[in-house]
């Protein structure tokens, strides 16, 4: 098998920069959302289309990032 249609893009979710990576292996699109800095995965999803996989990843990432507290320094 080969990885095909590999794409990366950045967007902002809940005020945090997020990096989306999506690609197709066989008939399945995979998507991971990471928090850019440090780069840890927030969500990993699958879908029949890129849009489906990305939409799920954005939703899960949004739920997690909305719980991040900012403290006054």
């Amino acid at each position: 098998m080969k990885v095909e249609e590999h794409q990366e893009r950045k967007l902002e979710i809940e005020g945090w920069p997020v990096h989306l990576t999506s690609y197709r292996i066989g008939d399945t699109f995979h998507c991971t959302a990471d928090n850019v800095s440090p780069g840890a995965n927030l969500a990993r999803t699958r879908g029949a289309t890129r849009e489906e996989a990305e939409s799920k990843a954005i939703q899960f990432a949004s739920e997690r990032l909305s719980q991040t507290r900012r403290h006054t320094v």
């Binding site: 800095s37 440090p38 927030l42």
Partner: protein, 288 residues
């Protein structure tokens, strides 16, 4: 890669594609996200789970020597095997595995430059097959605790002031604005950093494609913060995996002789009763 102090510590994706099936080469994927391997990996690569196979699962510690030997043997790795490690997040936990392999004296272990990210982006072959290597015989040495910093050594470094402390977390974690990476559970009671530490986030050592920056760029990056290898150096992050990535950069790409990974990191220091903590940005570094 030839300008690095130890260019032999890295291989390219192309090298892996050409050598993955060599009998004396073992490829191992180690991911932050332990489900990544099952999606598809470098053909012939085994997968190691950092949460269950690369740490003591009872007490907080690295693998014991006996468990390390068992892991190697079951992976078909002998003392003379060339081991290539790679993983997601630009090789975070691949570097963690490499750090442990060096602690236990494995001679020939290298990172695939660019990690899983680059392999996928290049559209290379992947496999979901899980190899079942024949068991090998393995005898570890060490552990070489000269590669590892413990709490008392970090405390002494703070007191003594003759050690470079490198905080590789994100700027917001360094200042104390957030207590954990965005979207992850808070795992400390206090935010901030170890007094005297310089903030050099791990990711600054990488290019967009996941490969390491050039020797000149890395030297400028760390040297610009006064970290030039003239003093012993300790890298830390939250749990020790990002700092093992920086440890690799300092030890093998820049060639620092005395660099340790403080795997206790902020989950130890930021929960320690009475530990001194600095908050906010670090003052400008004295240039080396």
């Amino acid at each position: 890669m030839s300008d690095y102090a130890h260019p032999e510590a890295l291989v390219s994706t192309e090298w892996v594609a050409q050598h993955a099936s060599d009998p004396n080469v073992r490829i191992a994927e180690v991911d932050v996200d332990t489900s990544e391997y099952s999606k598809g990996h470098v053909p012939g690569a085994i997968g190691w789970n950092w949460t269950t196979q690369l740490c003591d699962t009872v007490r907080r510690d690295i693998l014991s020597k006996s468990h390390f030997e068992k892991l190697m043997a079951e992976a078909g790795i002998s003392n003379s095997t060339t081991v290539i490690l790679y993983g997601d997040n630009n090789n975070w936990f691949a570097a963690w595995a490499l750090w442990q392999m060096k602690m236990y004296g494995h001679n020939d272990v290298r990172l695939m430059n660019g990690g899983r990210k680059k392999w996928l982006a290049e559209g290379r072959d992947v496999s979901t097959g899980v190899p079942t290597p024949a068991h090998a015989s393995y005898t570890a040495s060490g552990p070489d605790n000269g590669l590892r910093a413990f709490l008392d050594q970090v405390q002494a470094a703070v007191q003594g002031g003759h050690t470079s402390l490198v905080d590789v977390r994100s700027p917001a974690e360094f200042t104390g604005e957030i207590l954990a990476p965005p979207g992850l559970p808070e795992t400390c009671q206090r935010g901030g950093h170890i007094p005297g530490a310089r903030s050099i986030p791990w990711g600054k050592a990488c290019n967009d494609d996941g490969t390491f920056k050039s020797y000149a760029d890395l030297k400028a990056l760390y040297g610009g913060e006064g970290v030039d290898g003239t003093h012993p150096t300790i890298a830390y992050c939250r749990i020790g995996e990002r700092s093992s990535h920086t440890w690799f950069v300092l030890r093998y790409l820049l060639g620092f002789d005395h660099v340790r990974n403080y795997d206790g990191s902020w989950t130890e220091w930021g929960n320690l009763v009475g530990a001194p903590v600095e908050r906010g940005a670090a003052p400008h570094a004295a240039k080396a």
